[in-house]
Amino acid sequence: MGDILAFADQQDGEIRGVALEIVSVAASRAAKLGGSAHALILGGDGTGKDASGLGAYGAEMVWVARDESLTHYIPEVYAPVVAEVARSGNYDAILFPATARGKDLAPRVAALLDTSLASDITRLDVEDGTLVAVRPVYGGKAFARIKFQGFPTVMSLRLNAFGVAESPASGKVQIMTPPVKGAGRSRVIEFQASRGGTMDVSEASIVVSGGRGMRGAEHWTLLEALRDALGSDAALGASRAVVDAGWRPHGEQVGQTGKTVAPKLYFAIGISGAIQHLAGMRTAQTIVAVNKDADAPIFGVADYGIIGDAFEVLPRLTEEISDYCSNG
């Protein structure tokens, strides 16, 4: 007992950045439980060349399940493989990232293992030798401390809420050929990349969100410029008002009926700060608000606020930040 298994997501054969946080959490909690962390990578031929690299983040062992049928994510094919590996060890917990894929896969694995799942957790403690998770409920208006009965438990972790930590472990790679059960009853037909760029708002460590105060889709160039100045870990977000107006795709919406984000830095530009928007971003580490209304509720949660016109503030902000980022 005491071991924890971390699902390490890959894309096109390469381990994704989000995996490092999951493996780091698995390693530190397993250490407290007196066990060790294992990671699991699923993918097509050639997957896992970089698998031993997870040792640097605390993975004692890295399972690589490699098969042509795992090249693309098909939940009905992936879930039984993860469940099989989970059963093969003595795991206290199986951890997933709370990405679209993680949130799709975790409940299926939990159901196959006949065990419960705590989704989108923001904290994971070890108390009296057992795991206790904390996760938001009621749109972030309360946090629930969750206790588990029965092992292994399954959890998905809110990205950026825990952080990445290095802790060297052996990272021994174990290649396995999973028993893959016949063709699934679902097929991926097509993938349409969104125009917003590849970094998803829920994964980004910096988010630049615009609201109705931006007055129209054509003004998003100002927000894009700020995002670009902030570097490749930054992504765009939006309020629902903006999505409803058709200025931005729903995939960028932050809030109760959109994505929940916990970045290091969140910019709310021309966003009033309605309770449903706050539900999606109040666990960000640092919040910056720019709003021309000094009474806007967003200033109630912001760490730093500028009262002013976004159209005047943004160009200056972009300029100062690119100066800083390019000069170090």
Binding site: S119, V134, F148, G150, S186, I189, R282, V301
Partner: protein, 249 residues
């Protein structure tokens, strides 16, 4: 095509949450309850599917207490044909809920079952895919739009960095996100008609919850922020603070 939509009664998203003295639930007096917002999208998707094809029944299914009848009547008022209430206590354990729902769904075996992608209260984002797994059906989650055929459903799923188009064989399970399905309001005529529609109530065969809320806490207060200034002139101070105080750049 017959469709069953699983819906849940939850506190209105505007509700102020007050934690009870025992510390593991919220006060329900004075709280307005609604159908979970994503379940409204799922119901709307089902109603439109029925209208477009001109055939089939839309039924709504819930696990909840007696008061959930009001939510089910609301669903009948906007156009669902029948409703089933499995009366019992709902917990934060989605697998316990999924088992109860799956057992009921098995009896009806509809070609399509719709869920909200996430519930407005515990927001576990799990019951739909769990039910699908228990029933051995294919499932697409986080779907913003779909097209039904005789034996397949083609879904647009919202995933990181874009939209994935997937095709599932029927019978299938789909969880709905906000997309094209802006919900309708009930008309007076609909509300009257709902009174005559079937609303079946039976005791839920509950299973043990293995996940429990030990304690609820209010969100940690954010440290008092500050206004760094007005207009573009405040930018240098903001950038300095982000760099030196917040260590965020």
């Amino acid at each position: 095509m017959d469709i069953i939509v699983c819906v849940k009664r939850v506190p209105d998203t505007e509700t102020r949450v007050r934690i009870t003295e025992s510390g593991n639930s919220i006060e329900s007096d004075g709280v307005k309850y609604i159908m979970s917002p994503y379940d409204e999208f799922a119901l709307e998707a089902a109603l439109r599917t029925k209208e477009e094809s001109g055939k089939g029944e839309v039924r709504v299914l819930t696990l909840g207490d007696e008061s959930s009848k009001e939510t089910l009547r609301g669903a009948l008022a906007v156009g669902a044909d029948a409703a089933i209430l499995l009366q019992g206590t709902v917990t934060v354990d989605g697998l316990a809920t999924a088992k109860v729902l799956a057992a009921e769904l098995e009896k009806h075996d509809p070609p399509l079952v719709l869920f909200g992608v996430r519930s407005g209260d515990v927001d576990q984002q799990q019951v739909g895919p769990m039910v699908a797994t228990l029933l051995g059906r294919p499932c697409a989650s986080n779907v913003s739009d779909f097209n039904l055929d005789n034996d397949t459903i083609v879904c647009r799923r919202e995933v990181e960095g874009g939209v994935e188009v997937v095709e599932l064989d029927l019978p299938a399970v789909v969880t709905i996100t906000k997309g094209e399905f802006e919900p309708r309001y009930a008309s007076l005529k609909g509300i009257m008609a709902a009174k005559k529609k079937p609303l079946e109530v039976k005791d839920a065969e509950l299973v043990e919850s293995k996940l429990t809320i030990d304690r609820l806490e209010y969100p940690p207060e954010r440290a008092q922020g500050r206004i760094v200034g007005e207009g573009a002139d405040a930018v240098p101070e903001l950038v300095r603070a982000l760099r030196e105080e917040a260590n965020a750049l």
